[in-house]
């Protein structure tokens, strides 16, 4: 296992298509890319010929068979699991888990739920995610906010499965999965910004905002600057305290007289490379 420090490229885009990123640190989970570590059922694992960020890749080969598998459940759930070693745990200091996925199949298109990814804690609580973006012939990067896992304690086990019932009998599918790594921003940044309430009354006490914040805790102590703007008029500016991960912030509105209209909510309004925007509708009040 090694640590790699990488400086992310700063990309300059038109202001309403911002994809700029703060510098990112990665921690590769090299051992997770070893097919021998994965315990398959109703499928086979091997070393893939592909690479993911120069890392090895596991090939999960699944011949869909409605008549094979477990006697009680012939249309079953081909799956593989891996137990994380202690040195592969400790994800709470990171912002995201990432890996790459490339799919090959006898089908031209995958079903709506092509592949499930699961994460387990020691008590067996699990988070199940359907990787709906898997596409035949395409390599995708799967990203998961650590704060979205929603399972208490350390992640100790990973798994992948398909539902054979989502596929046709005799389909073949190969998932090439690798490059498992944890990522964290080295400065504070907002990677997702949206109004939790896309419409509110103008006499609401607060504006709920959903954000995903990345960055080490010491860089988050100053909070995140937010601005509410209607056309060119700045209605309100506030700096709100944040923690790492996904959260709902409540921007107090009582300091300003907010008129009904379409507003833009902006995070880091003065920092073009970190700026994020979202739209919100503020309606009149039925009780005024």
């Amino acid at each position: 296992m090694g640590y790699i420090k990488t400086i992310g490229l700063l990309l300059v885009w038109p202001i309403f298509y911002l994809c700029a990123q703060a510098p990112i640190e990665y921690r590769n989970l090299d051992g997770v890319n070893d097919p021998k570590r994965w315990g398959p059922s109703e499928c086979e694992t091997s070393v893939s010929t592909r690479k993911a960020w120069d890392q090895p890749v596991v090939r999960m080969h699944i011949p869909v068979d409605y008549h094979g598998g477990e006697k009680a459940y012939p249309i079953g759930w081909p799956r593989m699991y891996l137990n994380l070693k202690p040195e592969e745990q400790g994800w709470q200091d990171y912002d995201r888990l990432e890996f790459q996925l490339y799919t090959e199949s006898s089908r031209s298109e995958l079903p709506k739920r092509p592949l499930n990814f699961h994460l387990y804690n020691k008590q067996g609580q699990k988070k199940l995610i359907s990787i709906t973006s898997a596409t035949v012939g395409k390599c995708i990067t799967f990203t998961l906010n650590i704060s979205d896992i929603g399972v208490a304690g350390e992640i100790t086990k990973l798994g992948f499965n398909i539902n054979e019932s989502d596929y046709a009998d005799k389909d073949m599918v190969d998932f090439h999965i690798g490059g498992f790594r944890l990522a964290r921003a080295t400065v504070a940044q907002v990677t997702e910004l949206k109004p939790a309430a896309p419409a509110i009354f103008c006499d609401n006490r607060v504006l709920p905002i959903e954000v995903v914040v990345e960055g080490p805790p010491e860089k988050l102590t100053h909070g995140i600057p937010l601005q509410l703007k209607c056309d060119k008029h700045i209605a309100l500016t506030k700096t709100l305290p944040v923690i790492r991960g996904r959260q709902t912030l409540y921007m107090p509105l009582s300091d300003a007289k907010i008129e009904p209209g379409k507003y833009t909510l902006i995070a880091f309004p003065e920092e073009p490379t970190l700026r994020k925007e979202a739209t919100i509708t503020i309606t009149s009040s039925p009780w005024e």
Binding site: I75, P111, A168, A199, I200, N204, Y250, P286
Partner: protein, 763 residues
């Protein structure tokens, strides 16, 4: 005065726990006896005597704790209820009775356990017990529910005398008598463990379960001096955002206005919550009429149109069929009654207002008076009534799967029970109508005898009469004896999801066609609404299942003019062979996107319906935001034509215990008189339907505006609808994640209402 049969008792009273508390365990002689309890049979026992014994019956059930394999479902299941020595047996009667308990004179608490008869499901038990001044009552149906009746009494030199009366049958399983002086220690050492064992799970089962309360991630707010002095803080959040039992409110929610708006002839909820900063022994609440005095006139919303309830926290599973994890969650909307409140706990009041058909527009104000021990608080509430008469899209179907109470009448053993089931059926239908429903799923029973099929047409007629009497007018999804027909040929069941299916001979399919033809003929003769033929529920995608379903549906379609209904996801490619024979696809998610659904409905005339169980019962009962979305904006976006979830009410085991049995309870509950007790999810469904009514009303107003040449106003209103439409994060299942914050729904509804009012003004 009746003479009492005297039984000479020993002087020594047996104690079973701390102090002199006594447990009387009722049942036959041979039934298991609780350790330390006194056995009371229908002939009496030590320290207890009946006034007469001729009508008394006693009964015991086996105490079953093992999980048994269910072949159809392919897994082991726990017993419906866990009996113990106290609950497994009882003494019962249909006649008044007196019971004398020989206890030393003095004040006592008396606790009776009544229920778990294990007998016929159609029996309605009606228990009235009194000591001559205090009394307790309970009325409930079936063999699994257990009730605790309690009151304070004073024993004289003759002991305690209890009178039992009933309108049907009464029963008693156990009586616990606690001297007042021992109340506190008996509560923790005796009563609490017994109640936990009886009303939750036996200790050995309970060890497998872990309580995992929803963590409170909110910091403690800054309380004002008044809140500290009062010992209680009032806070308000949108009604569809859950309030967890012991969570702090958000700072901005404290003393937030309690307000709503509604159109004419609409139900609207208003809620607020008391968060207690100390223990209260008695909280009482009073609400009077709401007044609108604007413009010098006085209009009211009277108390009869204001329904006051509180949100009861139930122990729930995270999902209906999981085990070993539970937590307290907001669930049932109980009729208000004064109650205590412990420090740190929340008590959410739920007010539902019904505006009149021609309710004058304006803001109606009122106050809710709360008395918490010696503290009095007044909470202002306001409701703006809009001069809007909402229209409903009559092409949409809103139904419910439904366990019909009228099925119980046939086997009900007495007049009271029959009347109770009748009342239950009627009040539930009215309740469904008032919540926007326009159909129910029904079933036609039948059996093979004397070389022919015999059908319960009259029973279905009664149900259709009731259906019509409340104004339901949509097609009726109806299952019929396809399973019995299969068994006739195959001498076995089909299994859950056709798990045990084998292909029957061709004669089965021929006879199936004949069966459907017979039913259709009778339906026409009786002038029934359209029946949608529903032979099998949730077939699997296994090849044999699909082949069977294809042939089954094809056989049904041989009868001209009938339509078929299936609960299956059309997105599964495996179901492709069935497609030509399915008229109504009903699937759990909005699985096909809007474009595909609208195109296919237009091209082939099929209908796409949805049974959104994920926001009905198959969750922890808190998916209120997802429920409102599903029924309102989500349904609008989806293009689907109906919502028919499973189920209006379903109980497995004790209806007030979500931890027993193989699944937890679904949805609405039942009051002692048989009328429905709603749950928060049910109210969320209605509000979603109302959201859709606002959308439909505006769409009609836009059409009218265009017809009268008011293009600019029409375009502006359409732009509002487009904004909302585009703000929907489309999902196949709206449940917990990716949803608008609770308050957004009312804000969007208001933007629609504004446009309706604007277009109304122009006209």
């Amino acid at each position: 005065m009746k003479l009492f049969q005297l039984i000479i008792c020993t002087i020594t009273l047996t104690s079973v726990a701390m102090g002199d508390a006594l447990i009387f365990d009722f049942g036959p002689k041979e039934s298991p006896l609780r350790k330390g309890a006194i056995h009371i049979t229908k002939n009496g026992g030590e320290h207890a005597a009946w006034n007469k014994t001729d009508d008394l019956k006693s009964h015991k059930n086996e105490i079953v704790k093992e999980w048994i394999e269910n072949k159809s479902r392919g897994k082991k299941m726990p017993p419906a209820v866990y009996q113990n020595e106290l609950t497994c047996d009882h003494v019962a009667s249909s006649q008044p009775q007196s019971l004398k308990l020989n206890v030393p004179p003095g004040p006592y608490d008396v606790i009776l356990l009544c229920g778990r008869s294990g007998k016929r499901t159609s029996q309605v038990w009606d228990i009235n017990v009194t000591d001559g001044s205090a009394k307790a009552t309970a009325t409930f149906a079936g063999g699994y529910e257990l009730r605790k009746l309690q009151f304070e009494t004073t024993a004289t030199e003759k002991g305690i005398e209890l009178q039992f009366t009933t309108r049907s049958r009464w029963l008693v399983n156990a009586i616990i008598v606690i001297p007042e002086a021992d109340r506190k220690s008996a509560q923790t050492k005796l009563i609490d463990p017994i109640m936990k064992e009886c009303f939750m799970l036996p200790p050995e089962e309970m060890t497998k379960w872990k309580e995992r309360p929803r963590p409170c991630t909110l910091p403690e707010p800054k309380w004002t001096e008044k809140q500290r002095k009062d010992g209680v803080a009032v806070f308000s959040r949108p009604w569809n955002a859950p309030v967890w039992p012991a969570h702090f409110p958000q700072q901005h929610e404290l003393d937030a206005p309690v307000r709503a708006f509604a159109s004419q002839n609409e139900y609207e909820p208003l809620t607020f919550t008391l968060h207690s900063l100390k223990d209260f022994s008695n909280i009482s609440v009073n609400i009077e009429e709401l007044l609108n005095t604007a413009g010098g006139r006085k209009f009211t919303i009277s108390e009869s149109n204001i329904d006051l309830r509180f949100v009861r926290y139930m122990k729930v599973r995270p999902n209906y069929s999981t085990y070993n994890t539970y937590y307290r969650a907001p669930d049932v909307l109980m009729p208000w009654k004064p109650q205590s409140l412990m420090k740190g706990e929340n008590l959410r009041l739920w007010i539902t207002i019904k505006t009149g058909t021609s309710q004058p527009a304006g803001i109606y104000n009122g106050n809710v008076s709360v008395t918490a021990d010696n503290t009095s608080i007044s909470i202002p509430i306001s409701l703006r009534v809009l001069p809007i008469s909402l229209q409903k899209d009559q092409s949409l179907v809103y139904g419910q799967y439904y366990r019909h109470p009228l099925d119980k009448i046939v086997s009900a053993p007495d007049e009271f029970s029959r009347a109770w089931w009748q009342h239950k059926a009627r009040t539930e239908h009215v309740d469904m109508r008032e919540h926007g429903m326009n159909t129910v799923v029904l079933g036609l029973g039948g059996y093979w005898k004397n070389e022919r099929w015999n059908y319960y047409f009259d029973q279905l007629q009664h149900k259709i009469d009731l259906y019509r009497s409340v104004g339901f007018d949509k097609p009726i999804v109806c299952h019929f004896p396809c399973g019995s027909l299969y068994r006739k040929y195959m001498k076995a069941g089909m299994g859950s999801h056709l798990s045990l299916i084998k292909m029957p001979p061709d004669e089965f399919f021929t006879e199936l066609t004949d069966m459907v033809q017979t039913i259709k003929n009778e339906a026409r003769r009786r002038q029934w609404p359209e029946i949608l033929y529903y032979p099998v529920d949730e077939p699997s995608t296994a090849p044999i299942s699909v082949e069977f379903m294809t042939r089954t549906m094809a056989s049904i379609k041989k009868v001209p003019g009938v339509r078929t209904y299936v609960t299956a996801d059309p997105e599964h490619e495996q179901f492709a062979p069935m497609r030509p024979y399915i008229d109504v696809w009903c699937c759990q998610p909005f699985s096909l996107g809007r474009k595909a659904v609208l195109a296919d409905m237009k091209k082939r005339g099929v209908k796409y319906w949805c049974y959104p169980n994920h926001i009905s019962g198959e969750n922890d009962h808190t998916t209120t935001i997802g429920a409102r979305m599903t029924y309102g904006f989500g349904l609008w976006e989806s293009g689907y034509r109906a919502l028919v979830p499973w189920i209006y009410q379903y109980s497995n085991g004790d209806p007030w215990n979500n931890l027993d049995s193989s699944t937890q309870e679904f949805f609405n509950r039942t009051a002692d008189d048989g009328s429905p007790i709603p749950v928060t999810l049910w109210e969320a469904d209605r509000e979603g339907i109302d959201d859709h009514r606002y959308i439909f009303t505006l769409q009609n107003a836009i059409d009218r505006a265009r017809e009268t040449g008011q293009k600019e106003a029409a375009d502006k209103a359409q732009s509002t609808l487009n904004t909302i439409f585009n703000a929907i994060e489309v999902q196949p299942k709206y449940k917990n994640d990716g949803l608008w914050e609770a308050g957004s729904f009312d804000a969007w509804r208001w933007t629609i209402a504004e446009q309706i009012l604007a277009l109304q003004k122009l006209n």
